[in-house]
C-alpha cells in the first residue's frame, strides 16, 4: 500500500513536473540533482586544485623564474611574479586539501553515492531527501570558507594537507593565523556534511532495496559505496574531533598539541592518520566499484569472482583501520608498534591482489568493447597496480626510513589517487553521463583525452619515483638549494612540462563534458546495454526514478548468458522472458 501511493505519484507527475525552478535545480531534494550539484562543485574544485598544481610545478621546474601571469598575484603571494616560499607552502597544502576533500571525495561519494545508490537498488530516492539537500549546502559553505583562506592576512594554511601540529597550532611559528583556523573550521563543517551523507547512504542501502535486491545481488559499485560510507561515518568524526582540538589550540589557548605544557604533537598525527588511512580507502573503494561495473559491461562477462570481490572490499575496509601507523614510522613512534603496522599494512596487498586479478579475470575470454569508459577502467587497473606496488616499498619500515617524505611518496599517492581514483572517476563519469544528462559524451574526443592523459600522466608521475629514490624531499620550495638535488633539475623540468601538457589535456575533457551536455547525441535508456536497474529508466531518469518499483530477479552481471537472444540480462528481467525462441541464436 505504501509503495502504490508512491507509484501513482510518479505516474502522474513524471511528465508534468510542476516544481518551481528553485525547488527543482537549486534546493532540490532529488538525489540525482543533488548528485549532479555535488559533481559540478567538485569538478570546479578539481580544476582549481589542478591549477594550484601547475603553479607548484612551475616553481619546481623553473625555480626563481617569474611565473606566467604571476604578476596578477598580490605581492604577498608572488613578488614581481616570483613565488614566495610561504605561498608555495600554502599552495601545496591547498592542492592536497582541495584535491582530497573537495574534489575526489565529493565526486566519489557526493556525486556517485547520490546518483547511483537509489537508481541501482531500485529506490525512488534517498532515505532522507531533505538531509541530503542539507548535506550539499553544508559542503558548499565549507568550500566557501576554505576559499576565503586565500584572501585573509597571513595567507592560507601552510602546514600540509596533514596539518601537523605544532606547526599548524602556532601562528607565531608558521606566520599563518586566520588561514589555518579557516582550514580547521572548513574541515569540521565539511565533516558534518559527509557524516550526514554517509548516514543517508547507509540507511538507504540497508533499508530501501527493491524487492528481490538481496545483498548478493547488489552491484559492486553499491557494495563499494556502502563500505566506503561506513568508513566515512566512522573516520570523519575522528578528523572533526582532532580539528576541533587544533582549532582550540590556535584560538583559546588549549594545550593538546603544545609540547611546552605536556601536550603531545604525536597525538595529532595518530588521530589524523587514524582518520587518514581509512580516508584513502574512501578515495579508492568507490572507484574500484565503478571499474568493476564498467569492466563487466565492457567485457560482456560477469565479474570474475563476484563474491570474493565483495569480501575483498570488506576486508580492505576493515584492515584500513589498523594500519594508520605506517605514515608515522619515522615520527618517533614506538618502534615495536611500527613493526606491527608493517605487517598489517602488507596484508592489505592480499585483498588488493584479489581485486586486481579478478578484474583481469573479468577481461579474460570476454569480448571487450573499448569505449571511453572501458579504456579508463582498464587504465585504472594498470595504474592502481603501480601505485599499490609502490605502497609495498614504504610499508617495509626499513625502506621507508629512506623514502619517507620524498617524492617516492608523492609518486605513490598520485598513482593511487590520480591513476586510481581519478581514472576510476573518468570511467564512471563517461559511463553514467548519458543517464545524468540524457546525452552521450563524444567518443572520439573521449578517446583522445584518455590516450593523452595516459601518456602525460605517466610522464609526470613516473619520474617522481626516480627523484624520490635520489632523496628529493617533499614540500620543498626550491630544490636547487641542495647539491645532491642539483643533478635532478632536468628531471623536474621535464615533469613540469609534462604536467602543463597533462593539465591542457584535461581541457579536452572539460569541453567534451560541457559541449555534450547541449549538443551530445541523444542517449536511449540503455546505451551500453548494461544490466543495472538504472538503465531501465528513461535518460535522464525522472523525479522518483522508476515508473513502478522494479522487482529484481538476477545477479548483477548476467552478460552473455548462454541461450539468450541478447548478450545481457537486466537485473529486473525474468530469465525465461528473454530466452530466445528455440533454434534462434547461434
Amino acid at each position: 500500500m505504501a509503495t502504490t501511493a508512491a507509484v501513482v505519484d510518479h505516474a502522474t507527475h513524471a511528465h508534468a513536473d510542476d516544481r518551481s525552478f528553485i525547488r527543482k535545480y537549486i534546493f532540490s531534494t532529488d538525489h540525482k540533482i543533488i548528485g549532479i550539484q555535488f559533481g559540478l562543485m567538485s569538478l570546479v574544485f578539481l580544476a582549481l586544485g589542478g591549477t594550484l598544481a601547475m603553479m607548484i610545478r612551475w616553481q619546481l621546474g623553473f625555480p626563481g623564474k617569474p611565473m606566467p601571469l604571476g604578476s596578477l598575484l598580490p605581492e604577498t603571494m608572488a613578488a614581481g611574479g616570483i613565488m614566495l616560499p610561504e605561498f608555495y607552502v600554502a599552495l601545496v597544502t591547498m592542492h592536497g586539501t582541495i584535491m582530497v576533500f573537495f574534489a575526489i571525495m565529493p565526486l566519489l561519494m557526493g556525486l556517485f553515492g547520490n546518483f547511483l545508490i537509489p537508481l541501482k537498488i531500485g529506490a525512488p530516492d534517498m532515505a532522507f531527501p531533505r538531509i541530503n539537500m542539507a548535506s550539499f549546502w553544508i559542503a558548499v559553505s565549507a568550500g566557501v570558507l576554505m576559499m576565503a583562506g586565500f584572501f585573509v592576512e597571513g595567507g592560507h594554511a601552510g602546514a600540509g594537507w596533514t596539518g601537523y601540529a605544532p606547526l599548524s597550532a602556532r601562528p607565531d611559528l608558521s606566520g599563518v593565523s586566520l588561514g589555518q583556523e579557516l582550514w580547521c573550521l572548513s574541515l569540521i563543517i565539511l565533516g558534518l556534511a559527509s557524516i550526514l551523507g554517509a548516514t543517508n547512504y547507509i540507511t538507504t542501502v540497508i533499508n530501501m532495496r527493491a524487492p528481490g535486491m538481496t545483498w548478493f545481488r547488489l552491484p559492486l559499485s553499491i557494495w563499494a559505496l556502502f563500505i566506503a560510507s561506513i568508513l566515512v561515518l566512522l573516520a570523519i568524526p575522528i578528523l572533526s574531533g582532532a580539528a576541533i582540538m587544533l582549532l582550540f589550540d590556535q584560538t583559546i589557548g588549549t594545550n593538546f598539541f603544545n609540547p611546552a605544557t605536556g601536550g603531545q604533537p604525536l597525538l595529532w598525527q595518530h588521530l589524523f592518520w587514524y582518520f587518514g588511512h581509512p580516508e584513502v580507502y574512501i578515495l579508492i573503494l568507490p572507484a574500484m566499484g565503478f571499474v568493476s561495473d564498467v569492466l563487466a559491461c565492457g567485457s560482456r562477462k560477469p565479474v570474475f569472482g563476484y563474491h570474493s570481490m565483495i569480501y575483498a572490499i570488506i576486508s580492505i575496509g576493515f584492515l584500513g583501520w589498523i594500519v594508520w601507523g605506517h605514515h608515522m614510522f619515522q615520527s618517533g613512534m614506538n618502534p615495536t608498534l611500527g613493526m606491527t603496522f608493517t605487517i598489517s599494512t602488507l596484508l592489505i596487498a592480499v585483498p588488493s591482489a584479489i581485486k586486481v586479478f579478478n578484474w583481469m579475470g573479468t577481461m579474460w575470454r570476454g569480448s571487450i568493447h573499448f569505449t571511453t569508459p572501458v579504456l579508463h577502467a582498464v587504465g585504472f587497473v594498470a595504474m592502481f597496480t603501480i601505485g599499490g606496488l609502490s605502497g609495498v616499498f614504504m610499508s617495509s619500515t626499513p625502506v621507508d626510513i629512506y623514502i619517507h617524505d620524498t617524492y617516492f611518496i608523492v609518486a605513490h599517492l598520485h598513482y593511487v589517487l590520480f591513476g586510481g581514483s581519478l581514472f576510476g572517476l573518468f570511467a564512471a563519469i563517461t559511463f553514467w553521463y548519458p543517464k545524468m544528462f540524457g546525452r552521450m559524451m563524444n567518443e572520439f574526443w573521449g578517446k583522445v583525452h584518455f590516450w593523452l592523459t595516459m601518456v602525460f600522466y605517466n610522464a609526470v608521475f613516473w619520474p617522481m619515483h626516480d627523484i624520490g629514490v635520489h632523496g628529493h624531499m617533499r614540500r620543498i620550495y626550491d630544490p636547487s638549494q641542495y647539491d645532491f638535488l642539483k643533478p635532478l633539475a632536468p628531471v623536474n623540468t621535464f615533469i613540469s612540462i609534462s604536467a602543463f601538457l597533462l593539465f591542457a589535456t584535461q581541457g579536452i575533457f572539460a569541453l567534451n563534458f560541457i559541449i555534450s551536455w547541449f549538443k551530445g547525441e541523444k542517449a536511449g535508456r540503455n546505451p551500453w546495454k548494461d544490466t543495472g536497474l538504472e538503465w531501465s529508466t528513461p535518460s535522464p531518469a525522472p523525479h522518483g526514478n522508476f515508473e513502478k518499483t522494479p522487482t529484481v530477479y538476477n545477479a548483477p552481471y548476467e552478460f552473455s548468458v548462454p541461450g539468450m537472444a541478447e548478450d545481457y540480462l537486466p537485473q529486473d528481467q525474468k530469465a525465461d522472458q528473454s530466452r530466445a525462441p528455440a533454434g534462434a541464436g547461434h
Binding site: 540497508i206 561506513i230 604525536l266 595518530h270 588521530l271 583501520w321 613512534m333 615495536t336
Partner: protein
C-alpha cells in the same frame, strides 16, 4: 495499530538502580584505596550504568539484530586507537 496497552520495561526500577549506582560511585571515589583498584571499580560501575541505559532506555534489549549490530560495530575501533596510542608513553 493494535490495542493501546503495552508492557513497558521497568523504567522506574532502572532509574532507581542508576541513582544508586551513581551514589555508589561517589562513595567509592573517595575511598582510601589504591588508584588502580579505584579505576577498575569506577569503570565497572560506569559501564554497568551505560549498559543499562543502552539496553533499556534505548531498547537495545528488545531490538532486532541489525540494530544491535549497528550499535556494536564502532566499539572495537574505539578501543584499538586508545590502546595503541597509550603505548607511546611506556616503551
Amino acid at each position: 495499530m493494535e490495542g493501546s496497552k503495552h508492557k513497558h520495561p521497568p523504567y522506574i526500577a532502572i532509574f532507581v538502580a542508576l541513582t544508586i549506582l551513581t551514589v555508589g560511585e561517589l562513595f567509592v571515589a573517595f575511598l582510601p584505596w589504591g588508584r588502580t583498584t579505584l579505576i577498575v571499580i569506577l569503570l565497572f560501575l560506569a559501564v554497568w550504568k551505560a549498559l543499562m541505559v543502552a539496553l533499556y532506555f534505548m531498547h537495545l534489549r528488545f531490538e532486532k539484530s541489525p540494530v544491535r549490530i549497528l550499535a556494536a560495530a564502532p566499539l572495537p575501533l574505539t578501543v584499538i586507537v586508545v590502546i595503541a596510542v597509550m603505548t607511546e608513553f611506556r616503551w
